[in-house]
């Protein structure tokens, strides 16, 4: 390091990517508060200090949409927190609630039937695709690419339509319940999924031509916001952001839940660690999710009529319940679900949401309410990346890095 040239946040020498040199931090840096009421910030504030046009210091200031999820989870029984926790990542509803349901199931000592597990995976992957498309949309508009915004939001509608057909609600599905799922698919559903997959594969080709291979977008993303493998491990960054930096960590791989260990799919990993790599991880994940969906609907077609809710529930079904399950394919809840008691104990639920690993620590004292629900969401773990990825970049790189991290403030603030 010679003279006045210094490197800020430059960690990426070994892979030969260009680092951005800057002058020594001057005393007269310019402090800019971006957010929380700002078109390019989301519900958070990023305090940046700029020296000329170069960010020398960045501070993510989280907490703007804090809603006391953990505390509220302690006062409303065991089944009612499910619709509540969905509100953390509303477009990724099944993924974010499934680990909680699984933790409660562990405490109760029940396990969902095979078909329910496949149905959960079905909705999880639909959610994952929709959430990635949502991320793309926001990313597109951050880079000024309004067409990407509209396209991704429009194509997300296809997946939302599928989720609505399955669960009856577009976003807040409240689909998994302890012991199983609430609804089964109808006979035309697998074909709907297959059509949607074929459509999306065609569209991804158009996305590539218009957005990913667009020289403007490529030059905005390449070598920007590099987070090294070492840094990812040290900071505990999860999800596509970790996989974009060469860390092959995915809960579906490390600790397969539901039926992920019976499905054949790849976990895409890129070594570069820049914004482009993180973007490509998402593209590849959409492709892999579609592979999973194909396998899942094939399985579901072969195994019609299997139970979708655990015996402990279905054995208590009366004639009305059975009729509804037969005719409408709805697994009704029992009145005891409202005042459920869960044996005392502690359980951890892990799951891979679209943004990374979510962890629920659920403790029960044997009562009507959880004693403690601790939630660690992927965005909460990724927020720290701003502090290390932003310095050394231009102010105009801020939206590119923000969008590529796919940070979602309501999920982080809980």
């Amino acid at each position: 390091m010679s003279g006045d040239i210094r490197f800020y946040g430059a960690f990426k020498d070994e892979l030969g990517l260009k680092t951005i040199p800057s002058r020594r931090i001057a005393k007269d840096t310019y402090e800019i508060f971006i957010g929380p009421q700002h078109p390019g910030s989301g519900h958070m504030r990023i305090i940046i200090k700029v020296d000329g046009d170069v960010i020398v210091e960045a501070e993510p200031d989280i907490g703007y949409v804090h809603r006391t999820m953990e505390k509220l989870g302690e006062i409303r029984g065991w089944i009612k927190p499910i619709p509540l926790f969905e509100r953390m990542a509303i477009h990724d509803a099944c993924n974010i609630t499934l680990p909680y349901v699984r933790a409660v199931e562990k405490l109760m000592g029940v396990e969902a039937p095979e078909r329910a597990k496949y149905l959960r995976v079905l909705l999880c992957e639909i959610n994952r695709i929709a959430a990635h498309l949502y991320g793309f949309a926001i990313f597109g508009i951050f880079l000024g690419h309004s067409t990407m915004y509209m396209w991704a939001m429009g194509d997300r509608e296809v997946w939302i339509e599928l989720a609505q057909e399955l669960t009856g609600a577009r976003l807040t599905h409240s689909y998994p319940v302890p012991g199983g799922v609430r609804r089964d698919i109808h006979d035309e559903y697998p074909d709907m999924v297959r059509r949607a997959i074929r459509y999306m594969r065609k569209r991804l080709e158009d996305y590539r031509k218009l957005f990913l291979d667009n020289p403007v977008i490529k030059s905005r993303l390449e070598g920007v916001g590099v987070i090294s493998k070492k840094q990812v491990v040290e900071l505990g960054i999860v999800g596509p952001n970790a996989r974009g930096s060469g860390v092959a960590y995915d809960v579906r791989l490390a600790d397969p839940y539901e039926v992920y260990d019976q499905l054949d799919f790849e976990i895409p990993v890129f070594e570069e660690g820049d914004a482009l790599a993180r973007t490509y991880v998402r593209v590849e994940e959409i492709k892999q999710s579609m592979n999973i969906l194909e396998q899942v609907v094939d399985w579901l077609e072969k195994h019609k009529g299997e139970p979708i809710i655990h015996e402990s529930v279905s054995s208590k079904y009366g004639p009305v319940h059975k009729k509804v399950l037969q005719e409408q394919r709805r697994a009704k809840l029992l009145p005891l679900h409202a005042t459920m008691k869960v044996p005392a104990g502690r359980a951890i639920g892990r799951g891979e949401t679209a943004r990374g690993e979510v962890i629920y620590y659920v403790e029960s004292d044997g009562g009507l309410n959880p004693y403690r629900v601790r939630i660690v969401t992927p965005s909460a773990r990724n927020a720290i990346a701003f502090k290390y990825a932003l310095p050394g970049h231009k102010v105009m790189d801020l939206p590119a890095i923000y969008g590529s991290l796919d940070y979602f403030p309501p999920e982080s603030d809980r």
Binding site: I79, P83, L253, D261, V320, H337
Partner: protein
Amino acid sequence: MAPKPAVKTLPRRGSLIDGVKGNLQALIVGLKYFLDPKRFTLVYPKEYSKLPKGYRGFIILNKQKCISCAACARICPSAAMKMIRIPVKDPKTGKTRMKQYPVINYQRCIFCGYCVDVCPTEALYHVPYHDVVYENLSEMFWDLETFQKEPEYKTAKEGSPVKFLIHEEYGLIKVPAEEGG
């Protein structure tokens, strides 16, 4: 049959020729959609989307089936549903006694459908629409009478119903649906 990690390589920015090619490619795709947009916009007041049968819309009470078990009020995550006590005349004995019935506050309801799923007699059911307009907030408190009749689907009167089907080429396509909410 198990997930496996796969390290992939990133397409890199190439020479000037690649740049020109990328620009042309993007412009051609843009022009393609300019000529044939493949829209599936719902032109809202002219058309409205007829939602499928299982849609979790407004919740309506069938009073005849209600057995006053209060399971719906107990499971409601947002405390939108409450039980009220009203005097009911017993047809056999002719005596008046107090019976419980649910009422709902649609300011709070989050349409999770737990109450419908928990109802042991299927007395509660969803209607497949949710865009009902209220002139003031107090109208959103439904008393027992309102709770029993399906709300008027006013937007339906202005347009024609369509439903969306998933299509390989267009993503979603609109097809006309039958009348009715």
